[in-house]
Every structure is written in structure tokens, then in C-alpha cells.
């Protein structure tokens, strides 16, 4: 009996996609978070306005149900990010690779966020976005500016992306899915 019971338990975790995976998209204002969200959900580029608050969408990706929260990046809204940290499996941090002036601020916000207890177990995926634009920093340069190498005890990755062209997004997400599946087993 007991054996069967625990078996279904493991079985459920593996194959039932019932459990939703919560993912946050964070980053400074104008980094392209909302564009990435809808590119992922609908596969097309929508015109966006600065997000006052958040957008939330549910999408199926490779048999998994993803619950993706795109939180506004304006200074006034950043303090409220923490209200949405609990139960988060992964954070997607989006950086505007052309915005060299504010990359320090981005770095500060990122590390501040990762210190939060509720996010200790979450994976981190960084999109070095807007690669389609001239003068964009490369993924490596962004990684250095964000001091990603300092991160210990966390699965993380950085992917160069262009939400407009749809480049890099699936790669990033694939990596994220692998990590999450590993962790859930």
C-alpha cells in the first residue's frame, strides 16, 4: 500500500502538469518585460505602454503550465515587487543592453532582490535584451556589469535576446524549464 502511495506521489510530480510554475519577469522600466511576456504568450509583438502594476498570463510550454507575472519597472512600482515573491520558481531579469547609464542601477536592484529570503530557491534567467539595436552590450559584458559571477548557490544563466525579433527567448526558457524540472525531482 505504502509503496503504491508514494509511487503515485512521484508519478504526479513528474507527469501531471497540474501544478503551475510561477515565474516573475523583473527589470528596470523600458527593458522590454511586457514585450517579452506577450511575445512568449501570443508569439507576436504588441505595442506596450509603461506598466502601472503588473500583467499576468498563463501559458503552456512543453507540457508545463507557466504562470508568468510581469511587474512594472518604474521606480515607483519597484518597492511592490516583493509582494509577489512568494512561491516563485524562477525570476527572469530583463536588462536593456543599450542603456549603459542605468546598468548599475539594474545591478543593484537585481542583487537587492536576490537577497530576499522568499527567492533563495528560485532560478535566475537574465535576458540581455534589445540585441537588435546598435551599440548593445553583449551578454558577457552585461553579465560582468551585473556581477553575475558572484552569485553562489543559485542556478543562473544569461542569454542575449531580442524580444522584437523573437531571438533568444526560447533558448532562455528551455534552459529555465530544465532547471525547474531538475529541482522539482
Amino acid at each position: 500500500m505504502g509503496q503504491t502511495f508514494s509511487f503515485t506521489n512521484i508519478f504526479g510530480k513528474l507527469f501531471y502538469t497540474q501544478k503551475e510554475i510561477r515565474i516573475l519577469i523583473l527589470g528596470l522600466d523600458g527593458a522590454g518585460k511586457t514585450t517579452i511576456l506577450y511575445r512568449l504568450q501570443m508569439g507576436e509583438v504588441v505595442t506596450t505602454k509603461p506598466t502601472i502594476g503588473f500583467n499576468v498570463e498563463t501559458l503552456k510550454y512543453k507540457n508545463l503550465t507557466l504562470n508568468i507575472w510581469d511587474l512594472g519597472g518604474q521606480t515607483s512600482i519597484r518597492p511592490y515587487w516583493r509582494c509577489y515573491y512568494s512561491n516563485t520558481a524562477a525570476v527572469i531579469f530583463v536588462v536593456d543592453s543599450t542603456d549603459k547609464d542605468r546598468i548599475d542601477i539594474a545591478s543593484k536592484e537585481l542583487h537587492l532582490m536576490l537577497k530576499e529570503e522568499e527567492l533563495l530557491d528560485s532560478a535566475l534567467l537574465v535576458f540581455a535584451n534589445k540585441q537588435d539595436q546598435p551599440g548593445a552590450l553583449t551578454a558577457a559584458e552585461v553579465s560582468q556589469a551585473l556581477n553575475l559571477t558572484e552569485l553562489k548557490d543559485r542556478s543562473w544563466s544569461i542569454v542575449a535576446s531580442s524580444a522584437i525579433k523573437g531571438e533568444g527567448l526560447t533558448e532562455g526558457l528551455d534552459w529555465l524549464m530544465d532547471v525547474i524540472k531538475d529541482e522539482q525531482l
Partner: protein, 933 residues
């Protein structure tokens, strides 16, 4: 009404059956943060939460914010019903929780591309969530929703825009075109609107395709946007009525109210707008007809008798409809007309008589009270037997009805009888009998109190001694068997005041003495005081007898009774009349005001409270005030309900009347705090109601109060100009006034001007004149006024002005101000005009024509306002078709002379002529009044 009694009456707010607040709170946090979200469970929790909120519970800011954030997480779920509940809850929490702007984007997305079912909810919630910084982001969205073809969405957007007005007027102003377009458009529900709703299910065939409700909402918004532009409002009204664009009856009602507002501001438009009102009297909706009647009734003085008959016909029709609510509304209006113009509604008497037997008690009560008035008016000048009979009949009917109706209605009828008896004093006898019969029946304290109140008032205001005695004797009978101590005490007090003045005081003494033997100690002690009043006033045998009676009380078992008896005996022995009988009272409003002032600042305690600062009122003055209030309440009763801003205005007004002395006191202390006025002595009189010298919606609004200092040898007139700067882009500096008197006896002394007046600020300019005194006769004067100031334009958002620019000076002519006889006179009540008129020794008379006054009604108001005196013996009410009238006015001037004026009015060929006989204690006063006309 207290909270507890409210809860008792409301079956939905039994606190026992409410879910526990904290449990719900905890469970909400748990469920809303769960993953995945259980939609059904969350819906139940939200419903419980809403129920708590709707029944008056609230959460402190922090908890509310926590709740809000957890609710915001439910946006991840697509369930439409859940989303609707989420919106309802956020709307409720928006007032208590912080950071509600966090859901802005999610809501905007729902409005843009969400499900039709919750779109209206989303729009309404958005208006609560937006603040001035985020509102512009939603402008496009609102415009699209306003012109949406679906009426429900359009309505939601209209109502939400309306709610946004206080925080973002500029943005909403840009919706004007869309809103106007909506009024004229035709929007119908989508065919599947109701199928989506399980409640309607299959029965969708009989549902209307549209209700035009959006017209009502759009009209409300357009009005707010155009409110300050009278011309464009007028254009809106005419264009909407020309092609009968409004299909929704609520919208039409709203339109009628707007017409009313415009007419109140500018009565000259009646000619243009009256036909519109008239056309609504034949509308298919009862409510529209009623509203139109109501407006015309409130503007009755502008409408001639022939045209007014349309209203009566319309009401007559409505009194017969089967719908109870309509009949009720109609009879209320008829009742309202009956207060001032009972003759107009004689034609509906038959309907009224039928309605006495109406199954709805509210209607039958109103029918009776209305009939009381019409019958009263029919017989007022001639005591014809027909009139007398109908009063009898009515009283019989009332008596039979009294057994069936609840006490609340009895009280209403009792009040109606009181009003009737005050207005038509000739009718009191039967009414007194009716009241005293009622007093003998069983009844609660409340009912008896209202009867006693009425009888007390009648004693005060009736001039006939015989009827006074009748009431007093009935009251004596009542206290012989009265179970309510508080009523016995009141009656004993009254008997003490009135009894000694009657022809048979011993009758009352016997009844009062019975109290000493039979009642409890509280009643006994007031009987002691009452008896001592008889002793001191009647003197002689009565005095000796009462002394004997009181001596017996010295052995009473109760301290209080013994104390009072001892004290009274001492007073009676020394003939200390003043200590037993109050001839004057302190003005309680002012006393309270002064005491609060005194207690608020401990430094005041060094000196004693000076009771002499509080004016004493003689009984005569007190009575005048009381009756004035009563008559005013009578007239104002129904006007109060009109509209919000108008309402507050009117309440202010009626407060003003009741607190006249308080206001005067305020002016007095305000003026005495200004050092320049310190040597002027006591303020003799102020005009209390500010007089407008500009239109109320001008760039600068100027009102004026006149203050007279007449006690010192050189009399002074202080004009207090209250100036409001309504322009947003201008600061006024060196604001002053140029006042040119016509009368050379007025010499300008000095001016206290305003240095700077910022936008939306009100400042006061005082202009002081040396003025002639009463001996000079030529008191009257006309001031020609001009406002002068320096303009400084505001250049930035912080209200700063360009320092380098010196501005430019400008003048602004405003209306003239007159010194009127009413400025020097207080209204006083007296129950017997003829007697007092004959007593006064100095007489003057004059005849005048009143140009511009077209009806007797207006002439009465004209003289009442001009002289600021009290109309006596109901002479302010006149028959609408009479050609002559006698107005009796009484008052007291500020030099304490009594003034009585009898005005004979005659209407010939559309012109009013008046013959005035003025009598006074002083020749000067009579002369100066003649002079003024």
C-alpha cells in the same frame, strides 16, 4: 437615529450571523496566495468578505493593503465570475488600502480585451484606482468605452468619468464631445447579453432591447462639464427638448431638475423654459409628470393662475392612478400647494375625500391634512355654515380614523392641526376639542407629548383668552390622571405662568394642590413652585391661602419639596416677585457659545465669566423667534429636498434664522477685534444675510453686510465687503472699494483694504462712513460701488507671479447698495395687531405705486423685506385671485420704539398701489419710514 436602533431594524445586519472577520481575513490570505488558485473557494471567500464590508465592517489600512495584494494575485485566474468579484472587492477596498495603483495595468488590459461580462466592472473599478498621475494613461480607454455600442459599457464609462471629476477635471473635460454624442446615440444590448446570464436563461424574448439608461448617465456628466456656463446649458436644454432626444424617463427628470436650477438662478428665463415644463405634464411616465409638477409648484410665483391650472389637472389625474407610489407622490405635491395656496386645489377636494379611505395610511393621512387646509381657507373670511359643516365632517372622519392608524400618523395629524390653528386662528375651537379628546384616550408618551406641545403652542399664539382658558382647564383635568411625570411637570409649570392671569385662578389652584397630596415628590416640588407663582401675582386672599397650603408642605417627607416650600414662603413674604417669576431669559445659543469660548482657554479663568455679555431676551422676543421659526419651517418644509448644493444653501439659510442673534454676536466680536473700530461702542445692528452685489458666477463675487454703530454720538456705518477671487490665473493686490454716497450726510471716514487676494480666496474690505443719526430723518442713501485692484498674472503652477511685471490696475463696477428702513428694525411677534396698532401714538401715512411689482404676492414680499418686520395675523398669506389685501407688519427699531405698519394693497390693471399707515412710539421713526418710500 442611533446605530443600534438602525441595526435592529435591518434584518440583514444581524451581527450574530456574520462570519468572523479575522477568520475570513486569514482564510483569504491563504487561499488567494495558493497555487493553483481554487476559483470556487475564492469566490465564496470574496463573497464573505464583501458581506462583511457591506454590513459596515472595515479593515485598518495595513490589513486592507495586505488583502488587496493577495486579491490582486487572483488576476492570474480566468474565471469570469471570480474576476467580477475581484473587481467588486477592490472597489470596496480602494478607500482603505494603500498602493491600489498596482492593479492599474491589469484592469486596463481587461477593459481593452477582456470578457464582456466583467468589462463594466473593470471600468468602474478603474475609476477608483486611478490617481491624478495615472489618469491620463487611461484617457484613450475611457473615450473608447464612452462611445462603445454596448449601453452597459457606455454607462459604466460615463458613471466612472463622473466619479473621476474630483481628481481629474481637466482630463474628463476632454470627454465632452464623446459624452454629448452618447446622449443622441442609439445603443442596444447585444442579442446575447442576457443569455450570458444564468438568471435570465431562456426567457430572453420579452426583454427590452435598450433602456436608454446611458442617456441619464451622459446627461449628468454633460451637466457637470457645462455647469459653469449658463448659455451652453440653456442650449443643451433646448436642443434636447426640440427633437425629443431623451427616451429615458430618468434622463428627462434630470433635465427637468436642470431647468429648475437655471430658473432659480435666473427667473427671467421662465418665459422660454415654461413651455418645455408644460409639455412634460403630458408625458407617458408618471415620474416625469410628477417632477415637472414639482418644479412648477416650487416656481409658482412666476406662473399665472391660468397656466398653473395645468398642474392641478395633471395632479388630479395622478391622484386616481392605481400605482400607490404615484398617488403618494401626487398627494404630497397637492399637500405642498395647500400650505400656501389652499384655494388652488379646491378642485381636487373630491379626489382628496376619496383618498381618505385609501388603503395606504400615508396617503390617507396626507389627504386629511390637506383637506384641513383647503377647508380652512374656504371659510377663513366668512364663517359660512357650509365651511363649518365640512370641518365637523372632517373632524368626525379623523376621529374615526384615529382608532385605526398608528401613533406615527396620529402625530402627523396633530402637527397638521397645530399648523392649521396657527395659520387660521379662527378655527381653533373645534381643533382644541379634538386634541383634548385625543389626550384623554390611551396613548404613548410620545403621542401625548406631541399633543401637549401643540396645546402649549396654541396657548402661546392664540389671542383669544377664552380659548386659552379652555385649554388650561383641559390640561388641569389631564394632570388629575396623568401617568407621565414629565408631562405633569410641564403642565404645572405652564399653569404657574398662565393661570394667575386668568379670571378664575382658584380653579387651577385646587387642581395644583391635588398634586401636592396625590403625586410623587418630583411632581410635588414643581407644584410648590407653581403655587407660589399664583401667590405672588394674584396677591390678596389668594396669597394668604397659598401661604397656608405651602406651610403644610414644610412637613413633607421629601427634602426637595420642603426646601422649595421654605424658599417660596420666604420670597412670598418679602414680596420678591423677581425671584419667582422669570421675565426674561438668556439667549441660550449665545450663552453656550460664550461658555465654550471661555472654557477653551485657561487663561480666561483669571477673570470671572461675565454673564452680562449674554443678551437677555424678554418673553416677547422669545415668542417672536419661536413663531417665526414655526412659520418658516412651515414654508421651508418642502423646499429642502431640492438639490444637493441648493440644499446645503437652504439649510444654511434656515440655520441663519434660528441663530440670528448668534450671528450678530459673531459679527460683533469680529468687528471688536479690529483696533480701528474700538471706539465705536456697541454694535447696534447688522444685516445678517449677505447681499450679493455681483452675480454668483462672476469673476469676482462681492457680497456686503452693513453694520451700524448708533450708540455713540457720531454714528458710524461699517460696510463689510466680502470679495472672492474666482479667477485661477490672477492674484489681486491692493483690493479696495470706491463707494459714492448720494446723501451728503454720509462722509467716508476710512477704508481697510486687502493687500493681496489669491485665487479662490475670500477677503474682507471694510469701508467706514460717518452717518447721520435718527434725528436727521434723512437716513437713507444709495451707494454707487466700484471695485478697484491691481492685477498680477500667475506664471507658474505654484501660483507665483512675475515680480518684474508690475501688473495693471483695473476697476470693476458692481451693483449699488441701499440703506433701507429694514436695516434698523427687528421683527417682533404679537398676537393682537389691532390692539397694539391703536396704542401707538404717532401716525404717518403715505400712498405709493409699486412699479415693477405685478402681483400682490410680490408686493407682500417686497414690503416684508423692505421693512424687515413680522407679518401678523396670517396676513402674509393671500388669496391668489384677490384684488386687494391688508398686510399687517410689526417690529421694533434699534432705538427700542415699537413700529406697526398697516399696508393696504390694491391691484388694478396689473399695477399695485399701496397705502401705508405707519404708527410708532416715536414721531421720528414714523417719519423716517415714510421718507424711505
Amino acid at each position: 437615529m442611533s446605530t443600534s436602533s438602525y441595526k435592529k431594524g435591518d434584518p440583514y445586519s444581524h451581527s450574530a450571523s456574520l462570519p468572523d472577520k479575522m477568520t475570513v481575513f486569514q482564510e483569504c490570505l491563504q487561499q488567494f496566495n495558493a497555487s493553483p488558485v481554487n476559483a470556487k473557494k475564492c469566490r465564496q471567500l470574496l463573497s464573505q468578505l464583501l458581506r462583511l464590508i457591506y454590513s459596515g465592517e472595515s479593515f485598518p489600512s495595513q490589513e486592507s493593503t495586505t488583502l488587496f495584494f493577495s486579491i490582486s494575485k487572483l488576476f492570474q485566474h480566468k474565471d469570469v465570475s471570480l474576476r467580477q468579484l475581484v473587481y467588486l472587492t477592490i472597489k470596496e477596498l480602494s478607500s482603505t488600502s494603500q498602493d491600489i495603483l498596482m492593479v492599474t495595468s491589469s484592469i486596463m488590459k481587461d477593459i481593452q480585451s477582456g470578457d464582456l461580462i466583467y468589462k463594466p466592472n473593470a471600468i468602474r473599478t478603474l475609476s477608483k484606482v486611478l490617481d491624478p498621475t495615472t489618469v491620463s494613461a487611461s484617457e484613450r480607454l475611457f473615450k473608447n468605452s464612452l462611445v462603445d455600442k454596448n449601453p452597459i459599457i457606455s454607462s459604466a464609462a460615463l458613471v466612472s468619468s463622473y466619479n473621476l471629476l474630483p481628481i481629474a477635471k481637466d482630463v474628463v473635460k476632454r470627454f465632452t464631445n464623446e459624452t454629448s454624442e452618447t446622449i443622441d446615440s442609439y445603443k442596444k444590448f447585444p442579442s446575447d447579453q442576457f443569455q450570458l446570464h444564468e438568471y435570465y436563461g431562456s426567457s430572453t424574448t420579452n426583454l427590452p432591447s435598450t433602456t436608454f439608461m446611458y442617456q441619464y448617465h451622459a446627461l449628468g456628466l454633460v451637466y457637470e462639464l457645462r455647469n459653469h456656463d449658463k448659455m451652453s446649458l440653456k442650449k443643451l436644454i433646448t436642443s434636447l427638448t426640440d427633437h425629443q432626444a431623451l427616451k429615458n424617463s430618468l434622463a428627462v427628470i434630470q433635465l427637468i431638475r436642470f431647468i429648475h436650477k437655471i430658473l432659480i438662478d435666473d427667473e427671467s428665463l421662465i418665459g422660454q423654459l415654461f413651455p418645455i415644463l408644460l409639455s412634460f405634464l403630458k408625458h407617458k411616465s408618471d415620474s416625469v409628470e410628477l417632477e415637472s409638477c414639482k418644479v412648477i409648484i416650487s416656481l409658482q410665483h412666476l406662473v399665472n393662475k391660468y397656466e398653473f391650472a395645468n398642474v392641478i389637472n395633471c395632479l388630479q389625474k395622478l391622484l386616481n392612478v392605481p400605482r400607490t407610489a404615484t398617488r403618494f407622490a401626487a398627494i404630497r405635491l397637492v399637500n405642498k400647494i395647500s400650505i400656501k395656496h389652499p384655494k388652488e386645489i379646491l378642485t381636487v377636494n373630491e379626489e382628496l375625500e376619496n383618498l381618505i379611505n385609501d388603503p395606504n395610511r400615508s396617503i390617507s393621512t396626507l389627504a386629511i391634512t390637506t383637506l384641513l387646509k383647503t377647508i380652512g381657507s374656504g371659510t377663513i373670511e366668512s364663517e359660512s355654515s357650509i365651511g363649518g359643516e365640512s370641518v365637523d365632517r372632517l373632524i368626525n372622519k379623523m376621529t374615526s380614523l384615529m382608532d385605526e392608524i398608528t401613533e406615527d400618523f396620529k402625530i402627523v395629524i396633530i402637527e397638521a392641526i397645530e399648523n392649521l390653528a396657527i395659520k387660521f386662528q379662527s378655527k381653533h375651537k373645534k381643533l382644541v376639542k379634538f386634541l383634548t379628546d385625543l389626550l384623554r384616550d390611551d396613548g404613548s408618551l410620545e403621542l401625548k407629548t406631541s399633543i401637549i406641545d401643540t396645546l402649549f403652542d396654541l396657548i402661546k399664539f392664540l389671542k383669544n383668552d377664552e380659548s386659552k382658558q379652555l385649554i388650561l382647564m383641559n390640561l388641569c383635568e389631564f394632570i388629575e390622571d396623568c401617568e407621565y411625570t414629565e408631562l405633569s411637570i410641564r403642565i404645572l409649570h405652564l399653569l404657574g405662568d398662565e393661570g394667575p392671569k386668568t379670571s378664575n385662578p382658584s380653579y387651577y389652584i385646587r387642581h395644583i394642590y391635588n398634586r401636592l397630596v396625590l403625586e410623587n415628590s418630583i411632581v410635588r416640588s414643581s407644584a410648590v413652585i407653581s403655587l407660589s407663582k399664583f401667590a405672588i401675582i394674584c396677591g390678596g386672599d389668594v396669597k394668604t391661602n397659598i401661604e397656608i397650603l405651602l406651610n403644610r408642605c414644610l412637613n413633607d417627607i421629601d427634602d426637595e419639596v420642603r426646601d422649595r416650600a421654605t424658599l417660596s414662603l420666604k420670597f412670598i413674604k418679602n414680596n420678591e416677585k423677581r425671584l419667582i417669576i422669570n421675565e426674561s431669559k438668556f439667549d441660550l445659543n449665545i450663552l453656550e457659545n460664550k461658555l465654550i469660548h471661555y472654557l477653551n482657554d485657561e487663561s480666561n479663568f483669571e477673570s470671572k465669566f461675565d454673564i452680562n455679555e449674554v443678551p437677555l431676551l424678554t418673553m416677547e422676543e422669545l415668542n417672536s423667534k419661536e413663531i417665526e421659526n414655526k412659520l418658516n419651517n412651515l414654508d421651508k418644509n418642502d423646499d429642502v429636498e431640492i438639490e444637493s448644493n441648493h440644499k446645503s444653501h437652504q439649510i444654511e439659510e434656515s440655520n441663519e434664522i434660528s441663530n440670528e442673534l448668534l450671528k450678530q454676536q459673531e459679527f460683533s466680536s469680529e468687528l471688536s477685534s479690529i483696533p480701528e473700530f474700538s471706539g465705536y461702542g456697541k454694535l447696534s445692528k447688522s444685516t445678517l444675510k449677505p447681499i450679493y452685489l455681483t452675480d454668483k458666477e462672476n469673476e469676482f463675487v462681492v457680497t456686503v453686510n452693513k453694520h451700524y454703530f448708533m450708540e455713540s454720538d457720531d454714528a458710524k456705518l461699517v460696510l463689510q465687503f466680502n470679495i472672492t477671487n474666482t479667477l485661477n490665473h490672477l492674484i489681486l493686490q491692493n483690493v479696495s472699494l470706491i463707494c459714492q454716497p448720494d446723501n451728503s450726510l454720509y462722509e467716508e471716514d476710512f477704508i481697510l483694504s486687502i493687500d493681496e487676494l489669491k485665487p479662490q480666496e475670500t477677503g474682507i474690505v471694510y469701508v467706514v462712513f460717518n452717518m447721520p443719526n435718527i434725528d436727521d430723518i434723512e437716513l437713507f442713501n444709495n451707494f454707487n460701488n466700484t471695485l478697484s485692484y491691481v492685477n498680477r498674472e500667475i506664471i507658474d503652477d505654484n501660483g507665483n507671479i512675475d515680480e518684474s511685471d508690475e501688473g495693471w490696475s483695473d476697476e470693476y463696477p458692481i451693483e449699488d447698495l441701499e440703506i433701507l428702513p429694514g436695516d434698523f428694525i427687528h421683527p417682533i411677534y404679537n398676537s393682537n395687531f389691532t390692539e397694539i396698532f391703536d396704542q401707538l401714538s404717532f401716525e404717518q401715512s403715505t400712498v405709493v405705486n409699486l412699479p415693477g411689482v405685478k402681483s400682490l404676492d410680490n408686493a407682500v414680499t417686497h414690503f416684508k423685506d423692505l421693512f424687515n418686520m413680522m407679518p401678523l395675523e396670517g396676513s402674509q398669506d393671500l388669496d391668489s385671485d384677490a384684488n386687494s389685501h391688508i398686510l399687517k407688519l410689526f417690529g421694533k427699531d434699534i432705538w427700542n420704539n415699537k413700529v406697526a405698519i398697516q399696508v393696504r394693497l390694491a391691484l388694478t390693471g396689473g399695477k399695485v398701489a399701496a397705502k401705508l399707515s405707519i404708527k410708532s412710539d416715536s414721531d421720528n421713526v414714523a417719519k423716517f419710514i415714510v421718507e424711505s418710500i
